[in-house]
Subunit: 315 residues, 2 copies
Amino acid sequence: MSTDKTVAYEVAVPVGGAPDVVFVGVGAIGLPMATRLKLGGHRITAVDPFPTARAKAEDTGLSTAASILEVLPFSGVVVVMVATAAQLSELVTTALGVGAVLPDQTWIVMSTVGPDAVRIEAGRLSAAGARVLDVPVTGGVARASTGELTLFASGDRDVIEEERQLLGCLGTVRVVGTAIGEGQSVKVVNQHLCSIHIVAAAEALALAARLGLDPGAVLDLVSSGAGGSWMLNDRGPRMLEDTDVTVTSTIGIFVKDSNLVATAADQLGADIPLLRAAQERYTRAVELGLERRDDSRVIETYQVEATARSDAGER
Amino acid sequence: MSTDKTVAYEVAVPVGGAPDVVFVGVGAIGLPMATRLKLGGHRITAVDPFPTARAKAEDTGLSTAASILEVLPFSGVVVVMVATAAQLSELVTTALGVGAVLPDQTWIVMSTVGPDAVRIEAGRLSAAGARVLDVPVTGGVARASTGELTLFASGDRDVIEEERQLLGCLGTVRVVGTAIGEGQSVKVVNQHLCSIHIVAAAEALALAARLGLDPGAVLDLVSSGAGGSWMLNDRGPRMLEDTDVTVTSTIGIFVKDSNLVATAADQLGADIPLLRAAQERYTRAVELGLERRDDSRVIETYQVEATARSDAGER
């Protein structure tokens, strides 16, 4: 298993007028990724149907297009960072519908869409002659901006090696297998753990408060020991702030990702009681109007119940 | 909040014929703790009703007694490392029943018994004139042996300071508060997280296998990132071994501790869906005959279900 990291660099690379990368989906995480690729010397066209996303991309000096149709025919790499499997499917349908010059294209799917979706869409693209890699990423917006994402890369090893410079602009490439879907499967396990660990941290800190302890002191006491987790350290402090705390990743993302984990597990008949419990908390947080808030605010689902019980007891 | 660590040392301290520490409960974790205190210069009498536990203690050079009655009247420190709240209650009843010279005794409750139990028993001991500290520990047998436990100490600050040399023989003293029960409360939160994180690791690695991935490779890929936890790193590798893997802490311990967390939460009306899901897995592991196995073997509850479903599908 390779753990190489190609350090991103800032150089002026002479390029022609045509893009060598079409980057589809320049949202919160896509835009800093596209910017890293530009810093790495690539000529980018950023594709996004949303005018505000395109405007932000143009502010950072990227060329933009509202649809992939505007850049076809195209020879080079298509990086896909759309939000959902449905958007990926629609993108592929659009590209294939105009008989794109796919033998000259390498598609790198970096969205988290689940193993089934990437297998289906990779199959359609491959049948049209394109090369495809399945490379979901983890690390969030902060690490996307610094080129320190972790990339779970699967697909043909020769194609991965051909794209190693490009991938290396974004972070550390971990080659997880040769089959399309393996990258997404690793991401499923990763999101399983992340989904649970955030809620576990919220449940623990809410319990600490109910026990009459200072949650901040408890966080300090337990986070460095056997109860510690990356999420407890990262999200814990934000759980102790208020609902308007800076958003690093939304509740909505974990509604999507915990559903994606549950769907993948259901198809395999895998038992996932802890993930189910976590998933329910994200859903409840949306019901409380927290969808666009930082995912750490899932702790409010515990506080609301504590308050409701307390109110009921007082009557 | 103090984070001092008094380093344990090996010196010959001249002492008289009487013990200065009565150590009650020299089981898997109690014996190495008592041995650390002896290395720290204390004269120990190890009390344990189980002949095999006493035999092991004698093998390490400790004096032993089958009941605390054999060492009463006694002036000094009583360290309590029994397994359950019921055993603590019985011990206190026994000691109080003979009108022990409690004004000369300091009791340090280090068992994990929950905040209510320690408050009740500390109340009885204090009424008889004893000084009491609530000091549950975390770190397991391995760290007990090296004097690297973490001690969540609560109680009168002067008494904690008086016992700092003794406590320092066992590990790092974290003073969590002045009220009896605060140490146990912090331990409740710690065990809440530990209970969930072990099962989360098992569920994730079982899911990885169902996804057709190599769970060992996935462990390597996800444990250093946002999905990481202390338990995933520590228990994960043992989950990938077989049922006879070396026992560091048993399933039985987490049945006890997850029940203790649930009881404390229930009394407060605190919502703990993730802990409930984890608790159920430990209970199921006992039903599978795994009570004395390493707690990492909770993963077998997932494997059994996968096998059962697979068998049903083949019929």
